[in-house]
C-alpha cells in the first residue's frame, strides 16, 4: 500500500455500508478509480506545494475507527441563522440535517437527492473520486427559469469531530435555469476537539442569462482541514460574482474552475485568505475561455503572519476562437513575518486573437509612508499597523457579493487579524 492511498479493505467496508441508493453505481465506479490513483502527490504539478500526507493519515484513522456521531453546535448554528436572513440548507458531517434546514420547499427552488451514474464520472480529479466514493448523500438544487430572489440560499457546511477523527464529503450540484437570479452563501464552520477533514465538491451550471452571486466563507478551527472544488459552467450571457474567504483551517485547498461556454458571460471572482502559525492555504483557480467575447476578473489577497504558507495559482486559458476575451488576474500579499511564505503564480495561455489579458502579483510589507502618516495623526504604531492590515483586507470584503454580510465578515476578519497580531491561535 503506497502512502498516498487508503487501506482497501477499510474503503470497501465503508462504501459497502453506505445505503444502496441512486448513487450506488457511481460510488463503486469512483471507488475503483480512486483505488487506482489515490490522493494527488506533490509530484503532480498542481499539488507541488501542498502535501496531503497529514490529511491522508487522518483519513486512514477515520476509516479505521468507527465513525463519530455528528454533534454540531446547535446553539451556534441557531445564532448564525438568526443573524443572516436566508433559506438554510445545513449539511452536517456530509449529511443534510433536516431539523436545522429551512429552505426546502420554496417556490421555484427544487432540492432533491443527487442522482448520478457511472457515466457522470469525469476523469479529472482524484479528490472528486474520493468525494463520490464516500459520499453519504448528495444534493441537487434546481433554480427554475426566471426565478429571482433577494433572500440568499445559505449552504451551511458544519463538521464536527468529538472523540475520533472524521472524514466527510459534500457534493452539491446547482443548476440555474435560464434567467434565474440567485444569491448563495456557502458557510463553513466546525465544532468538536478532534481532527476533521472535509472534502467538498460543488458544481454550478448557469444557463443563458442566469446570474449567481456566490459568497464562500470559511472560519474553521485549526484542527480541521479541507479541500474544496467549485466547478462553474457559464452559458451565454450568464454571470457569476464570487468571493471566497478563508480565515481558519490547518490545511485549506480550494480549486475553482470556471468554464466560459457562452458569449457575453462574465465571471468576477475574488478571494481573501488570512493565515497564521501552522496554517497552509492554497488557492488554485482556472478559467477556460472557450468562446468570446466574455469577461473574467479575479483578485485574491492574502495576509500572512508566522510560520505559514500560502499558494495562489491563477490560470487563464483563452482557447482558439475565443476572440474578444477580457481576462484579468491580480494577487496581492501582505507578509507580516519573515517566516511566512507565499508562492504566487499567474499563468496565461492565449490561443485567440484580440484578447485583453493582464495580470499582476505583489508581495510586500505594510507601506512605511502610510504608517508614518497615520502615526503623525496620533495613532500608535500597533494601531496604525492594524488599521492598514485591515484596510488591505477590507477592499476584498467590501466588494464581495452579498452586501448585507459585509459587517459580519468584516468583524470576523477583524477578529482574526487581532489573533494574528497577538499570536493567539484560533
Amino acid at each position: 500500500m503506497s502512502r498516498r492511498s487508503l487501506p482497501i479493505d477499510a474503503l470497501d467496508r465503508t462504501v459497502a455500508a453506505l445505503s444502496d441508493d441512486a448513487l450506488a453505481e457511481a460510488r463503486h465506479a469512483a471507488l475503483a478509480q480512486f483505488k487506482k490513483r489515490g490522493f494527488p502527490t506533490t509530484r503532480n504539478e498542481n499539488w507541488k506545494y501542498t502535501d496531503l500526507s497529514k490529511v491522508i493519515e487522518l483519513s486512514r484513522r477515520s476509516l479505521q475507527t468507527s465513525t463519530d456521531a455528528e454533534r454540531p453546535d446547535i446553539d451556534r448554528i441557531r445564532e448564525l441563522q438568526a443573524s443572516i436572513d436566508a433559506g438554510w440548507l445545513v449539511i452536517a458531517n456530509g449529511k443534510l440535517n433536516r431539523d436545522l434546514s429551512t429552505t426546502l420547499d420554496e417556490d421555484g427552488i427544487e432540492v432533491s437527492p443527487l442522482r448520478l451514474d457511472s457515466k457522470d464520472l469525469r476523469l479529472e480529479d482524484p479528490l472528486a473520486d474520493l468525494n463520490l466514493a464516500l459520499l453519504k448523500q448528495g444534493l441537487s438544487l434546481r433554480i427554475a427559469a426566471n426565478r429571482s430572489t433577494d433572500r440568499p440560499i445559505a449552504l451551511l457546511i458544519v463538521d464536527s469531530a468529538g472523540t475520533a477523527p472524521v472524514l466527510s464529503q459534500v457534493r452539491i450540484d446547482i443548476e440555474l435555469q435560464a434567467n434565474a437570479e440567485i444569491r448563495f452563501i456557502e458557510y463553513h464552520v466546525s465544532a468538536g476537539d478532534d481532527e476533521h477533514y472535509s472534502n467538498a465538491h460543488i458544481n454550478v451550471i448557469a444557463r443563458p442569462n442566469a446570474r449567481a452571486d456566490y459568497l464562500r466563507f470559511q472560519d474553521r478551527a485549526l484542527h480541521h482541514s479541507q479541500t474544496a472544488r467549485l466547478n462553474v459552467q457559464l452559458e451565454t450571457d450568464s454571470e457569476i460574482s464570487y468571493c471566497g474567504i478563508d480565515l481558519g483551517g490547518r490545511l485549506t485547498r480550494n480549486d475553482l474552475k470556471i468554464d466560459i461556454l457562452g458569449q457575453g458571460a462574465s465571471a468576477i471572482f475574488d478571494g481573501l485568505y488570512i493565515a497564521a502559525e501552522g496554517q497552509h492555504v492554497d488557492n488554485h483557480t482556472r478559467v477556460d475561455h472557450r468562446v468570446g467575447p466574455a469577461v473574467s476578473a479575479q483578485e485574491y489577497r492574502g495576509i500572512l503572519n508566522g510560520h505559514c504558507r500560502a499558494i495562489w495559482n491563477g490560470k487563464a486559458i483563452v482557447h482558439a476562437g475565443a476572440d474578444g476575451t477580457d481576462a484579468q488576474q491580480a494577487n496581492h500579499n501582505l507578509l507580516l513575518s519573515e517566516h511566512a511564505e507565499i508562492d504566487a503564480k499567474p499563468e496565461l495561455e492565449i490561443y485567440a486573437d484580440e484578447v485583453k489579458c493582464a495580470h499582476g502579483t505583489t508581495v510586500g510589507q505594510l507601506d512605511e509612508q502610510a504608517l508614518f502618516y497615520l502615526r503623525s495623526r496620533g495613532l500608535d504604531r500597533d494601531r496604525a499597523k492594524r488599521v492598514l492590515t485591515r484596510a488591505f483586507a477590507t477592499s476584498i470584503v467590501n466588494k464581495s457579493p452579498i452586501p448585507e454580510l459585509h459587517d459580519l465578515i468584516g468583524n470576523a476578519v477583524e477578529q482574526r487579524l487581532r489573533e494574528l497580531a497577538t499570536g493567539v491561535p484560533q
Binding site: 502610510a370 508614518f372 502618516y373 502615526r375 503623525s376 495623526r377 496620533g378 495613532l379 488599521v387 485591515r390
Partner: protein, 250 residues
Amino acid sequence: MLEIKNLKARIGDADILNGVSLSVNAGEVHAIMGPNGSGKSTLAQVIAGHADYEVTEGTVSYNGHDLLALEPEERAREGIFLGFQYPVEIPGVNNAYLLKAAVNAKREHQGLEEIDAFEFLKLAREKMAVLGMDPKFLNRGVNEGFSGGEKKRNEILQMAMLEPSLAILDETDSGLDIDALKAVAGGVNALRDPERAIVLVTHYQRLLDYVEPDFVHVLSEGRIARSGDKSLALELEEKGYEWVREAANA
C-alpha cells in the same frame, strides 16, 4: 514653543540639514521659504518624527521638552500637526474613521472622553463646509483618488479638527487654484490664535498674500540663510533665490 538649535540631519549618506536654528513662539506665524531641495520638507518631517531621517547634531525642544525623544504619535498628541507636502493615499481606511481616531487619540492623551459620534459628524461637516468640501469625502478612503487640491483641503480639514498648538504646513499651497488657495488660507487664518503657532513652508509668495507671516526665513542648502519680516518674501520674489545664496556665501 519650538526651539531648534543647530539641527543637522541626514538621510542615508546625504547630509541635508546643516545646522538649522529657529525659534517659534506661541501666537506667531512663520514662513519658511527656499528653493527646491533646500531641505524644507526634511525639516518638517524631522519635527514630525519621520524615522528615515537621522538627526546627527543639535536639539529640538517643544514646550521645554526634548521633542526628538518622542514617537511621532506622541508628538501629534502633544499638539504638533504636519500638513504633508504629499499626503498619503490609504485605500480602505475611511476618511471619517481616521479623523475620528486622530481626534480621540489626542483627547485620550488629554484625559478627555471620546468625542460623541453625533458631535463629531456635526463638527466635521461644519469644517468641511467652510473649506468647500463635499461631505461625501468623509466616506471615501483617505486621500484615495483625491485630486491635488482635494488632498490639500483634506490636510487642512484634519488640522481644523485637531486644533494643533503647532501646525507645520508643507507646501499646502502648491498646485492649488485660486479658490482652493483661498479655502486653505481661510483654514489657516481660522486657526490663528495667541496660543498657537503656525509654520508655513512654501516657495511662493502667493500664500503669504492671504496669510500674513510675522517672520520669513529662507532655507538654503540646509541652513537658514536669512530671516526677516514679510518684506523679505517680497524681496525674494523680486530678486530670486540666487540672491540669498550669494549673500549667504559672501
